[in-house]
């Protein structure tokens, strides 16, 4: 059985008429790295909130169908039980930083303290997580003195340190420079290889194609397409529906019309583009 099972999932926020998620059916295996793409308002963040249990336990509203993660059913679990399995990094890191802690080190330790992990183990795990995400040198800084990209790394680290079975990331690199983005994608990829299941919302399609196992394209609360990154991300349906596409894809598509791109398959990544234009 799949690690995540979404069956006929439909959800409406309180006091609203239109469902934000409509009849979603999706299975994700343990250790799979799945990227979710879609225009603003497609339901991407709501899907993240659902996997993290905030929908419906915190936001209320009306959820039908079923959501299962690691064999547990969302509607039959409490939020306290649910969050032991799932970690969510918010779109805006500012919303996540606790405000209760003076240093980055303490901020990252906060979650572990809350579930009663012994002091010595906390130290080790926080160190390890900070090294992993490359923020060891920020340990003594105040979380509020950091740049947007640095705050995002702290937010991600404070989730990773909890070692959730499912990691849900809502645009975790939106404020990062390309090197930061590359490093963070590398860390996430590695977590997936170690068995953590990852669901990531992201606009940067070139990175998705380089790192993710599968892509789900959402539009208007429904799954428009899903499959291998290159297949989904080069589909003409995406450009027609206001999705962001790689410049390599759009240049090759135009080149194809002018007879300058000979292959049938279009590129998403630099390597695919180089290979295709050379042949």
């Amino acid at each position: 059985m799949a690690f995540i099972n979404l069956t006929n999932l439909t959800y409406k926020y309180p006091l609203t008429e239109t469902p934000v998620l409509q009849n979603i059916n999706l299975q994700i295996n343990e250790g799979e790295f799945v990227a979710v793409v879609g225009p603003n308002g497609a339901g991407k963040s709501t899907l993240c909130y659902t996997l993290a249990g905030f929908v419906p336990h915190f936001f209320k509203g009306e959820l039908t169908g079923s959501v299962e993660v690691a064999g547990a059913s969302l509607l039959e679990s409490t939020l306290d039980e649910w969050v032991l399995n799932v970690g969510l990094a918010f779109q805006n890191p500012f919303n996540q930083i606790s405000g209760a802690k003076y240093s980055v080190f303490e901020e990252i330790a906060f979650g572990l303290e809350n579930i009663g992990i012994p002091r010595e183990e906390i130290k080790v795990r926080v160190e390890e997580a900070m090294v992993r995400t490359g923020i060891r040198e920020l340990a003594d800084r105040s979380p509020y003195s950091l740049s947007g990209g640095q705050q995002q790394r702290v937010a991600l680290t404070s989730i990773l340190v909890m070692k959730p079975k499912l990691l849900v990331l809502d645009e975790p690199t939106s404020q990062m420079d390309p090197i930061g983005t590359r490093e963070v994608f590398g860390v996430i990829r590695k977590m997936a290889e170690e068995g953590m299941t990852v669901v990531l919302v992201e606009h940067k399609v070139e990175w998705i194609a380089n790192f993710a196992d599968r892509v789900v394209a959402l539009k208007g609360g429904e799954i428009l397409l899903e499959g291998k990154p290159n297949e989904v991300l080069t589909s003409e349906l995406l450009s027609e529906n206001g999705f962001g596409i790689s410049r390599y894809t759009s240049a090759a598509r135009e080149a194809q019309k002018r007879g300058l791109w000979k292959k049938k398959q279009l590129p998403v990544t630099l390597d695919e583009a180089v290979e295709g234009f050379k042949s």
Binding site: N40, Q91, N92, S145, D177, R247, R258, F277
Partner: protein
């Protein structure tokens, strides 16, 4: 209205020296992108333009005004600043009052305020949302409200701090439209961005900052082609520039049509 920056240094109260001697002139009507790694000093630099920060040493002139001699409120008539995070900026109960606040505060006549507000609403496609509370809208739309509320102030200089963060393709195109329109009106537009493809497609001049100093400054094509120097400040050239290099094209290309022409 030119921006003149001479020997600008800035040290935060924590002791962190964020700007280490910046000299720049930005001419009236230029479209400038500022790029560079997290912590390079981009936001610190632009916050000097509207007086939110005052130099530790050196000077900044906005036209004939030295920023240290004028209040932030006064400088707001010359420099509009759209924050990176719209939630740092928005405070009104509905979209219309949010956007009306700025121009009214600058003391324009009522007719002019109405005209500026309508123009900002049209440009940002917010005309059907005037009565909505900004916090009932998605972060995407809040970003557009933040943008509209600054454009409505009709300042000769407009600064955008990471305008495309978290925006989808449709909204990025909308923001590009706003920038093009401001250019037609002869405004100076200064934008901080990590979105280097957006930078290549919408800006004529690019300034790369690194570690509180200017690393590169010049026409977009020249700056964005310097792969090795840009790497020092963690900036990758645009996708098509990298592709052009890998394919051995002689000219540096930054945009699709240039790339396709060079390919022939």
């Amino acid at each position: 209205m030119n921006i003149e920056i001479k020997g600008l240094r800035f040290t935060y109260p924590t002791g962190l020296e964020a700007l280490k001697g910046i000299n720049l002139t930005i001419q009236s009507g230029e479209q400038v992108a500022i790029v560079g790694q997290n912590g390079a000093g981009k936001t610190t630099l632009v916050r000097h333009f509207n007086g939110l920060l005052k130099p530790t040493s050196g000077s900044i002139f906005i036209g004939d005004w030295e920023t240290t001699q004028f209040s932030v409120a006064k400088l707001a008539s010359r420099v509009g600043y759209v924050f990176q995070n719209p939630d740092d900026q928005l405070f009104s109960r509905d979209v219309l009052s949010e956007i009306t606040f700025g121009p009214r505060n600058l003391g324009y006549a009522k007719e002019k305020v109405d005209e500026l507000v309508q123009r900002a609403l049209t440009l940002t496609e917010l005309s059907d949302k005037t009565e909505t509370n900004p916090y009932d809208l998605s972060p995407t739309w809040r970003k557009m409200i933040a943008l509209a509320s600054i454009i409505a102030m009709d300042t000769p200089i407009v600064i955008f701090d990471e305008p495309t963060t978290g925006q989808d393709a449709v909204n990025v195109a909308r923001i590009a439209n706003v920038i093009a329109e401001l250019k037609r009106e002869g405004k100076t537009v200064i934008t901080i961005t990590h979105d280097i493809d957006f930078c290549a497609e919408n800006f004529e001049r690019v300034i790369a900052l690194s570690n509180g100093q200017v690393l590169l400054d010049g026409p977009a094509r020249e700056v964005l082609g310097q792969e090795e120097i840009l790497a020092q400040t963690y900036v990758d050239p645009p996708q098509l520039t990298r592709l052009g290099k890998r394919l051995g094209l002689k000219e540096t290309v930054t945009r699709q049509e240039e790339f396709l022409q060079a390919l022939k």
